[in-house]
C-alpha cells in the first residue's frame, strides 16, 4: 500500500473516531447510543478514549513512532470502529419498529 494512501486511511479513521469521540463528549444524545438512564460519565470516558485514539492515529501519520505503537494505536482504532458499529446496530435494532 502506498504511504500517502495509508496516511489518508489513517486520517479518515482518525476523523471518524475523533468525531465520534467529540460527539460522545459533547453531543452524546445525538448519537442515540445510550439510554437516558445511562450515566453521562460512560459516554465521557468513551469519548475521551476515542478522541485520544483519534489524535494518536494522526500523530502516527506525521511523526516517526515505533512499529509496536503503530500496531497498538491501529488496533485501538479498529476496536473503536467495531465498538461503534456494534452500538449503531444495537441502536438501530432498538429503534427499528
Amino acid at each position: 500500500m502506498k504511504h500517502s494512501s495509508e496516511n489518508e486511511l489513517n486520517a479518515l479513521s482518525s476523523g471518524l473516531i475523533g468525531i465520534m469521540g467529540v460527539s460522545l463528549l459533547i453531543i452524546p444524545t445525538r448519537l442515540h447510543m445510550f439510554d437516558m438512564d445511562t450515566s453521562i460519565w460512560v459516554s465521557v470516558v468513551q469519548g475521551i478514549f476515542a478522541y485520544a485514539a483519534s489524535i494518536s492515529l494522526q500523530i502516527i501519520s506525521i511523526l516517526q513512532v515505533p512499529q509496536k505503537r503503530i500496531f497498538f494505536i491501529q488496533s485501538a482504532a479498529v476496536f473503536f470502529f467495531l465498538f461503534f458499529l456494534v452500538f449503531f446496530y444495537w441502536q438501530d435494532a432498538l429503534l427499528r419498529p
Binding site: 500500500m1 502506498k2 479518515l12 471518524l16 459533547i26 453531543i27 445525538r30 465521557v44 489524535i55
Partner: protein, 956 residues
C-alpha cells in the same frame, strides 16, 4: 457500512495482508467498496432508515452509490486516464446527498461519518504528507504537534466538563432543535479544523526551513504527490494570500507584476539576442584567430554580421591609398547582387568618404534624408551604418551594413559591429604581419647565401624596404676591429635624403645615434627631432622613421634606417618587432660576408707572400729578387707607384727598381730621405703626398741585418685613410726579409759544404796514402810478401766491384785488405822470418796475428768497418780456420772474399819454398778448394774475373 469497511481496512493494515496489498490503494478500494455495498444495502433495505423516510431518494442514491463505485473501479483499471480524478471524486456526490437528507434529522452518526467520508474522497491525495512528515530529529515540530494535541484534548475535556456542569445547573432539555451542546460541538469542530490548519502550516514551514538549511533530498516515497503536478507551496499560497491582501491591492500588484513580466520578457529577448550576437562574435573571433587570408577573413566577417544583425547587405571595402579608392573585398546578404564584383568607390566620395574624413562610425537611420549616401539603382535599403577600419591612424578599409527598415540598428548592434570591425582590423594586421614575417624568413635564406659586401648591403636595404613597408631605406655597416669594413646602401627614391644621410656618416648625428642604440626606435617626424633635424627629406611622406641598430655579439656593427611607412603614417610595434628580426639576419649576413672577405684577403696575401718567398729563394740575383718583391707589394697594396731599394753589407745600393702604371723602371731616383729614415728607425712611416695619396715606406730587416726598404704611393679612401692594410704591408716586408735572409744563408751554407767536402776528400786520401805507406813498410819486413798487401787490396776491390759493392763498401774492402796482416807487427821476427817450418808453439803465436791486427785498428774510428776482415781473413769455409773457427756464412763476406784473393796472390807469387804457378792453375786450385776452404759462390765469381782478366791480357 462506513465504519465496518474502514475497520476492515484498518484491520488489514494490522495483518500480514498489508504486504500482499502493498501495491494496491486500500483507501480507493475502501471508497469503492463502501459505495458499492452502501448502494446494495440501500437497494435491499426498506424505505425507512434511522427514522428518516428515504423512499424518494432511494433509487437515485442506489444508482449514485453503485454508479460512482464502478467509476472508481474504472480508475483502478485505467490509471492513466486523464479524468480519473473526476471519476474518483464522483464517489463523494451520493454521500453529500446523503448528508443533505439526514442533516435535518440531527442524527449525528448518519451525518458526520458520511460528511467525513465525502471530505476524504474529495481531498484524496491532496494532503502534503511529504511536507507534514516530521522526522525524529525535528524536535520543534514534534513539540508543536504534541502541544497542539494536548491542548486540543484538554480543551475538549474542559468543554465537556463545562457542558456537564451547565446541563446539571440548567436542566436544559435535549428536545431543543439546537442545544448548547450542538453549538459547542459545531464550535469545537470549527476551532479544531482551524487548529489543524494552523498546525499543519506551522509544521510545513518548519520542515521547509529545515529542508533549506539541511538541503536534504525529499522523501522518495512522496514523489507520486509531486508527479500529480500538485505544488503545495503554491496551493498554500493561494489559500493564504486572500487573507493577506485586499482586493484592490491585489489588482494593483497584479498589474504591476504584469508590467514587470512584460518588461522582463522584453529584456530577456534583448539579452537573448545580445547573447546570440556575442556567441557569433566569439565564433568569429576564433575563426579570425587563425585566418591569415585577408579576403577569407573579410568574408567570414560579413557572414557573421549578416546573421547577427539581420542585415539586407553587408560589405567590406579595402582602402587602396595609392589609387585613393575603396575596393569591394567581401559582401553578404539578400541584396548582394547590387554590388558588382571588384566594385570601387572613391575614398573621398559618399558616406564612406565622410567616414574616412571624420574617422568615426557613420549611422544613417534613413538614407533618404542623407544627401551624401550614394544609392544604387533598385536599392531598397533604408538604413545604413559605415564603420571605418582604422589601424594606427590609417583607414585600411570600411564595413558597410544596410537594412530595409528605418532605424534598424540599435546602439547594441552598432557596438557589436564596431567590435567586429576591431577584430577584423586585428586579423588583417596579423595577416599582414605573418605575410611579412614569411617574407623575412625567405629573405634570411637569401642573405645567408651572399658573399659580396656591396650586394649584401643592397639586398638588406631592399629587404628592409619591403618588410617594413618603407618608402626609403638606408643601410650603413662598419665592421672589423679598426672599423675598416664599411659599406652603405639604400633602396627607394629619395636623392635629397640619401645625400644628407651620406654627408652625416661619421658625424655624431643620427647614424651614430642609431648605431649605438640597443634596440630599434621610432621617430614620428624627423623634422621635429633634434638628432634628425639636419636631414632634408624629399617629401612629407618620408617624415616618419624607424631606426634599427644591427648588433652582433652585443656589438653594434651598423644600422638600418627606414623612412616613410607606405599606406600609413607611422611605423608601428609590428614593424619594430620585424625590424629586430631583420637586424639579426642582417647582422649574420654582414658578419658572414665580412669574414669571407677577410678570409679571401688573408688567402690572397698568404698566397702572394708564399709565391714571393719562393721567387726570392730561386732568384738568380738580387736585382731579380728586388723586382719580385716590388711586383708583389704593388699588387698587395694596390698602390699607384711602388719602389724598392736593397743594400749590400757595406750599405751601398745593391739592387733597386720601381713600378708604376707605365711599367718597371730601373735606375730612377728613389726617395732616399724617407728610406734612410725608415732604415734608421726600423718603423713604418706614412707620409701624405696630397691629392688623396699617402706614401708608405717600410724597412726590410731582420734582427741580423737590414736589407733595404720598400716604398709605395697608396690612394686614400673616402675617410682619408689608406686603402692598404698596414698589417699586410708589414707581413710583406717581414716575409721578404726572411726570404732574403734564407737566400743569403743558403748560399753561404752551400759554399761551406763544398769546402768541407774538399777537405774531407783530401783527408781521406791522406789517410789512404798513410795506410799504404804503412803496409808497404810492413811488407818490406818480409821479402816474400813484398807488395802483397797492395796487390790483394787492388784485387779485392775489383772483386767487390764485380759483386756490385757500394763505394763505401769498396773503400772498407780495400782498406781491410791493405791492413789484413797488420797484426804481424806483433809477431817476433824470429818466428816471422824463420827459414824452416814452425813449431806448434810458434804456429800458435803466428795464429794470433789476425786478433792483434783487429785490436790495433780498434781505436781508429774510420777503420772500424775493416775489423771483421782483419780478424777473420784466416777463417776457412769448412771451419778449420782461425782465430774463431767460423763456419760457412758465419764468416764475414769481406773476409771470405779476401781469403780467396789472398790465396790467389800467394799461389801466383814466388816463395822460397816453391815457384809460383800460373793464374789459370791458381784458379783451378781455388776451384778445387771451393766448398772446403773457400766460399764456392765467390770462388766462381773470382774465377770468372780472373779468366776475363787473362783474356783481356791475351787480347792486349
Amino acid at each position: 457500512m462506513i465504519f465496518l469497511l474502514i475497520a476492515i481496512m484498518q484491520l488489514t493494515l494490522l495483518t500480514p495482508l498489508k504486504e500482499r496489498f502493498s501495491q494496491l490503494d486500500l483507501l480507493k478500494i475502501s471508497f469503492i467498496l463502501i459505495n458499492l455495498f452502501s448502494g446494495i444495502y440501500l437497494a435491499v433495505s426498506g424505505n425507512q432508515y434511522a427514522l428518516v423516510n428515504i423512499a424518494p431518494y432511494k433509487i437515485p442514491l442506489v444508482i449514485g452509490f453503485i454508479g460512482s463505485a464502478f467509476l472508481g473501479i474504472a480508475t483502478l483499471f485505467l490509471p492513466k486516464l486523464k479524468i480519473n480524478i473526476m471519476f474518483s471524486r464522483t464517489q463523494a456526490i451520493p454521500w453529500l446527498i446523503w448528508c443533505a437528507i439526514f442533516t435535518p434529522s440531527l442524527s449525528a452518526a448518519n451525518v458526520i461519518a458520511p460528511a467525513l467520508l465525502s471530505i476524504s474522497i474529495l481531498f484524496e491525495g491532496l494532503l502534503p504528507w511529504n511536507k507534514l512528515s516530521v522526522k525524529s530529529n525535528n524536535v520543534l515540530a514534534q513539540r508543536v504537534i504534541m502541544t497542539t494535541s494536548t491542548l486540543e484534548m484538554a480543551a475538549l475535556i474542559f468543554l465537556s466538563a463545562l457542558l456537564i456542569i451547565i446541563d446539571n445547573s440548567s436542566h436544559a432539555g435535549s428536545n431543543t432543535f439546537i442545544t448548547a451542546r450542538d453549538a459547542a460541538f459545531l464550535f469545537f469542530a470549527v476551532i479544531s479544523t482551524l487548529i489543524y490548519y494552523v498546525t499543519f502550516t506551522v509544521i510545513m514551514t518548519i520542515n521547509g526551513l529545515i529542508a533549506e538549511l539541511t538541503e536534504e533530498d525529499q522523501d522518495k516515497s512522496d514523489q507520486p504527490d509531486e508527479a500529480n503536478g500538485i505544488h503545495w507551496n503554491k496551493r498554500l499560497a493561494r489559500y493564504i494570500k486572500p487573507f493577506m491582501y485586499k482586493q484592490e491591492k491585489v489588482q494593483f500588484r497584479l498589474n504591476a507584476q504584469t508590467d514587470q513580466i512584460s518588461s522582463l520578457t522584453h529584456q530577456l529577448k534583448s539579452e537573448k539576442k545580445r547573447n546570440t550576437q556575442l556567441i557569433l562574435l566569439m565564433e568569429l573571433s576564433q575563426q579570425l584567430e587563425n585566418q591569415l587570408d585577408q579576403p577569407v577573413a573579410s568574408q567570414l566577417t560579413v557572414n557573421t554580421l549578416e546573421r547577427a544583425l539581420n542585415c539586407s547587405l553587408v560589405c567590406i571595402f579595402i582602402h587602396e591609398t595609392d589609387e585613393k579608392e575603396f575596393m569591394l573585398l567581401a559582401a553578404a546578404g539578400s541584396q548582394t547582387m547590387l554590388m558588382p564584383s571588384g566594385f570601387r568607390q572613391s575614398s573621398s566620395a559618399g558616406v564612406i568618404g565622410r567616414a574616412v574624413r571624420q574617422r568615426k562610425t557613420q549611422i544613417i537611420n534613413d538614407i533618404r534624408t542623407d544627401a551624401d549616401y550614394i544609392r544604387f539603382e533598385n536599392e531598397s535599403n533604408l538604413s545604413a551604418v559605415i564603420i571605418p577600419l582604422i589601424s594606427n591612424g590609417h583607414v585600411n578599409g570600411a564595413i558597410v551594413f544596410n537594412s530595409e527598415k528605418v532605424n534598424a540598428f540599435s546602439s547594441i548592434d552598432i557596438g557589436l559591429a564596431e567590435a567586429v570591425a576591431a577584430e577584423l582590423t586585428r586579423a588583417w594586421e596579423r595577416s599582414s604581419y605573418h605575410h611579412r614575417l614569411m617574407n623575412l624568413v625567405q629573405a634570411g635564406s637569401q642573405l645567408s647565401a651572399m658573399v659580396e659586401p656591396e650586394t649584401t648591403a643592397r639586398e638588406v636595404a631592399s629587404i628592409a624596404r619591403e618588410i617594413l613597408q618603407a618608402r626609403f631605406t638606408f643601410v650603413q655597416i662598419q665592421l672589423g676591429q679598426e672599423r675598416n669594413f664599411t659599406q652603405s646602401a639604400s633602396s627607394g627614391e629619395a636623392p635629397r635624403l640619401l645625400e644628407s644621410l651620406e654627408n652625416s656618416v661619421g658625424s655624431e648625428s643620427l647614424i651614430q645615434l642609431a648605431f649605438h642604440a640597443v634596440q630599434p626606435f621610432r621617430v614620428r617626424d624627423v623634422r621635429k627631432y633634434t638628432s634628425t633635424a639636419h636631414l632634408s627629406i624629399d617629401y612629407a611622406g618620408l617624415r616618419s622613421m624607424l631606426a634599427i641598430p644591427i648588433r652582433w655579439h652585443r656589438m653594434s656593427i651598423g644600422t638600418i634606417l627606414a623612412f616613410g611607412k607606405q599606406n600609413e603614417v607611422f611605423f608601428n610595434e609590428n614593424d619594430q618587432s620585424l625590424a629586430e628580426l631583420l637586424a639579426i639576419q642582417a647582422a649574420g649576413a654582414f658578419e658572414s660576408t665580412w669574414l669571407q672577405q677577410e678570409l679571401r684577403g688573408s688567402l690572397r696575401t698568404t698566397s702572394l707572400l708564399y709565391r714571393l718567398s719562393n721567387q726570392i729563394i730561386q732568384a738568380e740575383n738580387l736585382q731579380n729578387a728586388a723586382l719580385d718583391i716590388a711586383q708583389t707589394a704593388h699588387k698587395l697594396a694596390k698602390s699607384s707607384v711602388t719602389g724598392i731599394v736593397l743594400l749590400n753589407l757595406e750599405g751601398n745600393v745593391a739592387a733597386e727598381t720601381m713600378i708604376d702604371s707605365s711599367g718597371t723602371h730601373i735606375g730612377i731616383d728613389h726617395p732616399m730621405e724617407i728610406i734612410n729614415d725608415v732604415m734608421i728607425s726600423g718603423q713604418l712611416i706614412y707620409l701624405s703626398q696630397g691629392q688623396s695619396i699617402t706614401r708608405a715606406c717600410l724597412p726590410i730587416q731582420t734582427p741580423i741585418r737590414k736589407y733595404g726598404a720598400i716604398w709605395m704611393d697608396i690612394p686614400e679612401d673616402q675617410g682619408h685613410k689608406s686603402t692598404a692594410n698596414p698589417n699586410d704591408l708589414q707581413a710583406l716586408v717581414n716575409q721578404t726579409a726572411i726570404a732574403l735572409e734564407r737566400s743569403v744563408l743558403l748560399v753561404e751554407s752551400r759554399r761551406q759544404a763544398t769546402e768541407i767536402k774538399a777537405a774531407y776528400d783530401m783527408l781521406e786520401a791522406t789517410y789512404d796514402q798513410t795506410l799504404a805507406a804503412l803496409m808497404s813498410a810492413l811488407d818490406a819486413r818480409d821479402r816474400e810478401t813484398e807488395g802483397h798487401s797492395l796487390r790483394v787490396s787492388h784485387l779485392t776491390a775489383k772483386l767487390g766491384q764485380t759483386l756490385n759493392f757500394s763505394h763505401e763498401q769498396l773503400k772498407v774492402l780495400e782498406r781491410g785488405s791493405l791492413l789484413h796482416d797488420i797484426g804481424k807487427i806483433g809477431i817476433s821476427d824470429t818466428i816471422l822470418h824463420k827459414p824452416g817450418p814452425l813449431s806448434e808453439a810458434e804456429w800458435k803465436i803466428m795464429r794470433r796475428h789476425p786478433d792483434i791486427g783487429a785490436r790495433i785498428v780498434e781505436g781508429i774510428p774510420f777503420l772500424q768497418d775493416t775489423i771483421p776482415l782483419i780478424r777473420h781473413h784466416q777463417e776457412r769455409w769448412d771451419g778449420t780456420g782461425y782465430p774463431d773457427g767460423l763456419y760457412h756464412e758465419e764468416i764475414p763476406i769481406l773476409a771470405r772474399m779476401f781469403s780467396i784473393v789472398d790465396a790467389f796472390d800467394a799461389l801466383t807469387s814466388n816463395r822460397p819454398y816453391r815457384q809460383k804457378i800460373s793464374a789459370i792453375e791458381a784458379v783451378d786450385y781455388l776451384h778445387q778448394q771451393a766448398g772446403i776452404l773457400f766460399d764456392p759462390e765467390i770462388v766462381e765469381v773470382f774465377k770468372n774475373l780472373v779468366l776475363e782478366s787473362q783474356a783481356g791480357l791475351l787480347t792486349t
